[in-house]
């Protein structure tokens, strides 16, 4: 199982805070996971399309969309940060 978390505008647009799911077959990177989610869920696809500039964290560390994934990972997807 992996966990996929959404924050800020991406959370609101997708209507989802967190997905728990098995790592799908053929998905080995964050980019592939995003592609798979776009295929499987229209609302998510629309939310990604509305948030083209995204940041990624894997296991609470910033990562690129090329980062590889394995079972047990926590993936977070969010818009560019605006703290401070």
């Amino acid at each position: 199982m992996i966990q996929v978390r959404f924050f800020a505008a991406l959370r609101e647009r997708s209507g989802k805070e967190c997905l728990e799911m098995a790592l799908p077959d053929g998905v080995a990177t964050v980019a592939e996971l995003i592609g798979w989610l776009e295929q499987s869920d229209q609302t998510l696809a629309a939310a990604f399309a509305a948030t083209p500039c995204r940041m990624v964290a894997v296991n609470e560390m910033l990562a690129s969309e090329e980062a590889s994934l394995e079972d047990g990972d926590v993936v977070a997807l969010f818009p560019p940060v605006t703290g401070g």
Partner: protein, 157 residues
Amino acid sequence: MKTCIAVQDAPLNATAPQQWLRDEGVSGAIVLFSGHVRDEDGRVEALHLEHYPGMTERFLGTIVERAGQRWHLNGAWVVHRVGTMRQGDEIVQVAVSAEHRQAAFEACAYIMDILKTRAPFWKKELIDGSWHWVEARERDALAAAAWLAGEPGHEPR
């Protein structure tokens, strides 16, 4: 180096960073950055800040650790507020103590640059009764890029 890192809903205590960093003269220099919710010419009625609990604290800890590797620091304080705030409220405090002022200035600016561009916080503004997400500013991304260019690896991990 002593460190204090926190994310809190409660208002920040404006005098806490200096009190906590003072060390009877081991440090000759304390530099404090204090960020405040801007009034944006009265346009913004309130601000709400969301974050990624757990990752935020870990991330801030990593920035501070990196700063401690790069400059000789005696202490570092990073406290960020989240939740709903109003104009003029203090939103973030970054303070460092060091023997000499140049290290203190540079480390404090470094921590703020990385915090602004990489730490998982998101701002929403209340304007004319409805909430809008704030877009990231390109200037912040550039500031971080300048710092990160000199470092091994591109992300504080």
